[in-house]
Subunit: 377 residues, 2 copies
């Protein structure tokens, strides 16, 4: 039976009772699932729901809005042939829709009707939107300093936006407090904490496997903040390996900004550094919740970490835009990482390398205006 799992102690909890962390406040994963074969793909299901048989259980009514089945575009980048996985081409404009759609569908199946999240970015927009689509109430906590423009998408979806005093960390602490308080009436459906979110991001691995004619790529270069796409690929490709569908795991590389890259630093054997502001704001996570698990995934795969300077991130953003690929600088850094990995010989010509692009440039208009020198917009 699938169960919630504390990967550090091995302790488990039954899946039936909704829970988002362990008894000591630790983050959880799920026990290993067996994975599915290509024959278990449901060809008529929309988007990522074709891989629903790989989920821990089936929601009778998935909250589906066309998430998944994103384009995989072959492109020559810095002289290297790679495949761009356009995870930004999603209903809310980011890869977070995989996690939000699956997590909220499973939680709704378990009887949850009101969800709490803390994020003024893509995570908050995805939770607010899928909650709306699923007829669930949503409360999104954001720091009181958050510009109103950042929450328009979530507010339009009908979410209650709660401005919390203090820093982003204070906001996360308040979310934890409310999440632990049964009287709040909200279940903490955090894109960072809940293991069901990773059940959504793991469908990226299944999709790449199908995109590539039911084979794994040689390497996947992933923009990494908290690491939900690294863990999603680790879980998904791990299941495919167990199910005998692929011969080996692809190497996973985590691209992080040099200004805030704790996971990549540790992967590279570098000492910690205090975080500095970065234009790759979606990956500016100074204290990720599952650092050991993300590092373990990188190492197990034979991949590693890459750190990108701001100038490299900006150059990659503009270079992609000049090819018609308009994405957030947060994910353009993965293209910069590809160049560095190729230059270092870590990835080699002839290998099948996928670069994950996670967020639409339409949410980064002020950044692009700045990079283009056309002033504040």
């Amino acid at each position: 039976m699938t169960a919630y799992l504390d990967p550090r102690s091995g302790q488990t909890w039954p899946l039936e009772a909704p829970r988002w962390r362990g008894g000591d406040g630790q983050p959880l994963l799920l026990t290993d699932l067996p994975g599915i074969t290509r024959g278990e793909i449901e060809p008529t299901a929309p988007g990522l729901w074709r891989y629903a048989a790989a989920l821990p259980f089936l929601p009778r009514q998935p909250i589906a809005m066309g998430e998944g089945r994103t384009p995989l575009l072959p492109r020559r980048l810095d002289g290297f042939e790679a495949l761009l996985k356009c995870e930004w081409l999603m209903p809310t404009g980011s890869f977070k829709d995989r996690g939000a759609a699956v997590m909220l569908s499973l939680l709704r199946e378990q009887g949850i009707t009101a969800v709490l999240e803390d994020s003024s970015g893509n995570g908050g927009a995805a939770i607010a939107t899928y909650a709306a689509a699923g007829g669930m109430r949503a409360r999104i906590l954001v720091p009181e300093s958050t510009s109103p423009a950042k929450t328009v998408q979530s507010r339009a979806a009908g979410a209650e936006i709660q401005l919390t005093p203090g820093s982003r960390q204070d906001c996360a602490d308040e979310a934890l407090r409310q999440g632990n308080d049964p009287a709040s009436g909200f279940f903490y459906a955090s894109h960072n904490w809940h293991p069901f979110f990773l059940q959504g991001t793991k469908t990226l691995a299944y999709e790449l496997w199908e995109d590539l004619g039911f084979e794994a790529p040689d390497a996947v270069v992933i923009p990494c903040g908290a690491g939900s796409n690294v863990l999603g690929c680790d879980i998904g490709f791990g299941e495919l390996l167990r199910a005998g569908q692929i011969a080996r795991l692809p190497r996973l590389y985590a691209a992080q900004p040099a200004h805030c890259g704790p996971i990549a630093r540790e992967a590279l054997g570098l000492p910690p550094l205090p975080p500095r502001p970065t234009m790759a704001e979606g990956t500016a996570i100074a204290q990720p919740i599952r650092p050991a698990e993300v590092l373990g995934a990188l190492r197990r795969s034979g991949g590693g970490g890459v750190l990108l300077e701001e100038a490299e991130i900006a150059a990659a953003s503009l270079s992609l835009a000049r090819q018609g690929i308009y994405v957030e600088p947060t994910c353009a850094q993965a293209v910069a990482a590809l160049g560095k990995l190729a230059a270092a010989g870590s990835i080699r010509p002839g290998e099948r390398v996928v670069v994950i692009l996670t967020g639409t440039g339409l949410k980064a208009t002020p950044r692009y205006a700045e990079m283009l020198g056309i002033g504040p917009v």
Copy 2:
């Protein structure tokens, strides 16, 4: 042989020589194409390119970025079961990608390397982006009053943004002037003028036909400015009828803002009115280029026009957003039109009705902020 056609005089011109209007400056269409059967769909081609056999000729290298194959979501709206065709889930955030991808692919095949367009909206963004993806130069003319925020996406794609003095009409006139001047070095690849653009929008009809199990819907409700989706549906479903793939044309309904709805007004037998500003800015086309053809398409189909007040457009926008569908007010008006058509008995319960949603809400953040009463952002 397919040729350019002046639908009013019947005059034709050979397709081989690039041309965007007739000898007297009139807009052109193409002569009738035979349409394709389901056996001619190319199942492994990406997005709309699965219908490439329906195009007047095949580009050796389509400029493809994942456009087409958009979600069709069943939703209950105002008590009426309808199907939402999410044409906003496209690489640049709007349905214009169908037209831009096909038009520029065909023009590039004919040797065009530099294109001119006039639009500060979705059309300009799509032309700039697909030109970038296809290695073509692009010049986009916009009125000098255009806010820089509106052109960031096109500038990021490397397009030359030319600010032109005067009104939107002055800008269109300048585009016509440059388009007629061989010395400009740019071919006028206007999303409004060039008939190849409609060859792209017609793939919407093919896609709906396949979405619905190779049948036509009973009715399609379409946000209408210049009418490229009305004409695309007319051309596409017309071809399918000729090819014996559907039994009859769906009724086409054009939704236009009451503040600027010349086509719907004429369809309803109402006298012209001077245009007023509308939040449905993408459909605020006071002088469409092919009014007779659009009206003919509505009438031939047995459909018609619907006019929407600003309050109705705002209410439909927020109502959709509350269900997780975050789109431009420009297209939300089609949902308001659905309600009116149902109330009038023009569409009936049990009919298969498709509502076309054409642009992402991520480009309408200031509008939503206003509607939500959270002030300028």
